[in-house]
Amino acid sequence: MGVQILMPALSPTMTEGKLSRWLKKEGDAVKSGDVIAEIETDKATMEVEAVDEGTLTRILVPEGTEGVSVNSPIAELDGGGANGARPQAPGHDTAMPQQPAPPAAASSAVGEVAKQAEDHGAVAARGQARGEGAAKAGEAAAAPEKDWGPTKPITVREALRDAMVAEMRADADVFLMGEEVAQYQGAYKISQGLLDEFGPRRVIDTPITEHGFTGMAVGAAMTGLKPIVEFMTFNFSMQAIDQIINSAAKTLYMSGGQLGCPIVFRGPNGAAARVAAQHSQCYASWYAHVPGLKVVAPWSAADAKGLLRAAIRDPNPVIVLENEILYGQSFECPVAEDFVLPIGQAKIERAGKDVTIVAYSIAVGWAMQAAEELAQQGIEAEVINLRSIRPLDAATIAASVKRTNRLVTVEEGWPYANIGTEVAMQVIEAAFDWLDAPPVRVTGKDIPMPYAANLEKLALPTVADIVGAVKRVTYK
């Protein structure tokens, strides 16, 4: 009997992919190590190589098919040769399951976060439409967003790249450095095409030496150059945190204003999917603690583009906390050449009168989803996207709480001394008399991130957690 060849998972966040090309046709003999197909994952085009030998009897998914889900059968191989196959594994980086479909697994390889993020772009658009309506009705009192004119959907990945490209074109002192940013086009493909356009003096691959190259970049910034330092993920910024805090953040003050440090530190922050404790941590609270730093955390593509451009132009050190799971998500983004967002201003993503939900980064999407669910139950939540964590837009938050009288904060990071703690305290200081219930924080669990799929899911905040928290503060 033949065996089915299944669509392989080829990245931590891949749930489906495009079968871009078959390199074998029906009837072809397949040897171990032969490339049989090309698959486009969420990150790259990958070659699929055969493990066993046999004849390709049937192609089940024609080339060009998009959205082929992981583990669905894509072809059939007659297993005749399988026993005699050299059990050598293929080269390169592919895994080709040639077994019958597996029994329903207890765990899913892709983290729950990835799934929860699937329609952030849509939820953003619905919130926006609703927000405009509400604003007209006079419900929302916050300063309206500047109208940047026409928009088009782009991914967060494209937004970040476009921001760097625009600023590098405008200012020859801006350059990018980090691990795999140049020839590899970025570990997460953020810097795609930059090496081509700007050359190796301005797009620099560094060795894996975070402490050293961060210090080098800070030193360069002291002379007025404007480095963008990409950390492959913010987990690795820990190797360099001394230079960020002791050198970048404090030199202006220590020099009595002589030496500024116009530098950007950017990269993915927080949990990705199933990468465990050392690779799944939110650093918002760590960096927000430090005077002399600015910290922003984009959610949408517009946030990403507008805030990164502002960060690059800012004469101070700015930490840009991105999120890997959002990189592939599309959102409407203004097309205007000069589009930029101010650091220090929050955005009301969705207007509402019953409760204020404050969130940043990926948690904004969860908050928006929770708000839709709550609306169906008659609770109108106002969702504030912080965008900037330091400085914090305390005024927008307080004004909102004065209307809603209730506060829920949402973030992925740990609860102890986190951003929600700071937001709640500032609300207490500014609007204590308006609060009708104690604020509630929805956070990641107070533990290192576990690897197991079921535990990881439990460790991260969910939409249901947010709905539950809102019910607590609204006594519903």
Binding site: A89, P207, H279, N454
Partner: protein, 342 residues
């Protein structure tokens, strides 16, 4: 200084002038162990493709001779520590395939109860101290393992493995100095597989001979053919003897190669298929051992028996890894801190 002379990296003895580095029995065992790692990793790759393993999964295929040859030099109580590319090291230290595979699938039967995953497994019993995800971090930790041997006046040595990419991290050089200063019994093992993710060693390091990287501190270093388990064993014995005799640390640069991508999601565009193919065809450590065994009068039947045995171990591990249950929800909150004594 006697050690300083060694830092030239000269391969002092040739195999012809002395006993072979491995007896036939030892070579058979090494063949078995390398094959086990190879088959285990292939299975892990398949389970990853099926979505049963998530996150990062860094396979050791191609590098098997390094860890198997070094392990053959060790005695009980010696310690091993490495990076995230750790499945081979664990199997070599004698950790069970079942427990390693079940950790990859995130199940309770895994070495870390499913909480650590591919990059984070440990076994104090087998002297394996992880499984570390931050590039370079294990090098200072390994120096600390050696420190404990010095402190306790034990004759044990610590094997500290790291990639050539990691070899540029600042704390590696800090560790060289510490270990040399205190004469710690640490063997620094650079697994030079030519690439750190997509960056070739030439693009990451200005040092053209990594075995000399610790020479300013008087640490002897050697370049070793890491694709030949006997060459590894031979150099390993020298390094271990040096450390056990109280002469301080030693550095081995293992010239090796990884056949697969950096992790599962690496499209590997930074090297050609031909380059990979050439290494596999001309330098494969398992093929080399196989030929040596046949040359020494081994039979195909004998090797086939080993193949079958290894296949059975791996299949059993894969079955176990799929049937072991997920960790109980209560495990979320355990092991954060050790509860109060008594």
């Amino acid at each position: 200084m006697a050690q300083a002379a060694d830092t030239a990296g000269a391969k002092r003895r040739t195999r012809a002038t002395k006993e072979p580095a491995m007896s036939r029995e030892q070579l058979l065992q090494a063949y078995h162990d390398m094959l086990l790692i190879r088959r285990f990793e292939e299975k892990a790759g398949q389970l990853y493709g099926m979505g049963l393993i998530g996150g990062f999964c860094h396979l050791y295929i191609g590098q098997e001779a390094v860890v198997v040859g070094m392990q053959a030099c060790l005695e009980p109580g010696d310690q091993v520590i490495t990076s995230y590319r750790d499945h081979g090291h664990m199997l070599a230290t004698g950790m069970e395939a079942r427990g390693v595979m079940a950790e990859l699938t995130g199940r309770i039967g895994g070495y870390s109860k499913g909480k650590g995953g591919s990059m984070h497994m440990f076994s104090r019993e087998k002297g394996f101290y992880g499984g570390h995800g931050i590039v370079g971090a294990q090098v200072s930790l390994g120096t600390g393992l050696a420190f404990s041997n010095w402190y306790r006046e034990a004759k044990n040595v610590s094997l500290t493995y790291f990639g050539e990419g990691a070899s540029n991290q600042g704390q590696v050089f800090e560790s060289f100095n510490l270990a040399a200063l205190m004469k710690l019994p640490n063997i620094f093992i650079i697994e030079n597989n030519k690439y750190g993710m997509g960056t070739s060693v030439e693009r990451a390091s200005a040092s053209r001979d990594l075995s000399k990287n610790a020479s300013p501190w008087g640490i002897p270093g050697e370049q070793v053919n890491g694709m030949d388990v006997m060459a590894v064993k031979e150099a390993g014995e020298r390094a271990v003897a040096h450390c056990r005799a109280g002469n301080g640390p030693y550095l081995l640069e293992m010239k090796t190669y990884r056949y697969r991508g950096h992790s599962m999601s690496d499209p590997a565009k930074y090297r050609t298929r031909e380059e990979v193919q050439k290494m596999r065809e001309q330098s494969d450590p398992i093929e080399t051992a196989r030929k040596a065994l046949l040359d020494q009068g081994g039979t195909e039947a004998e090797l086939k028996r080993i193949d079958d045995e290894v296949k059975a171990i791996v299949q059993d591990a894969a079955d176990f890894a799929q049937t072991s249950p997920e960790p109980d929800e209560r495990e979320l909150w355990t092991d954060v801190l050790i509860e109060e004594a008594r």
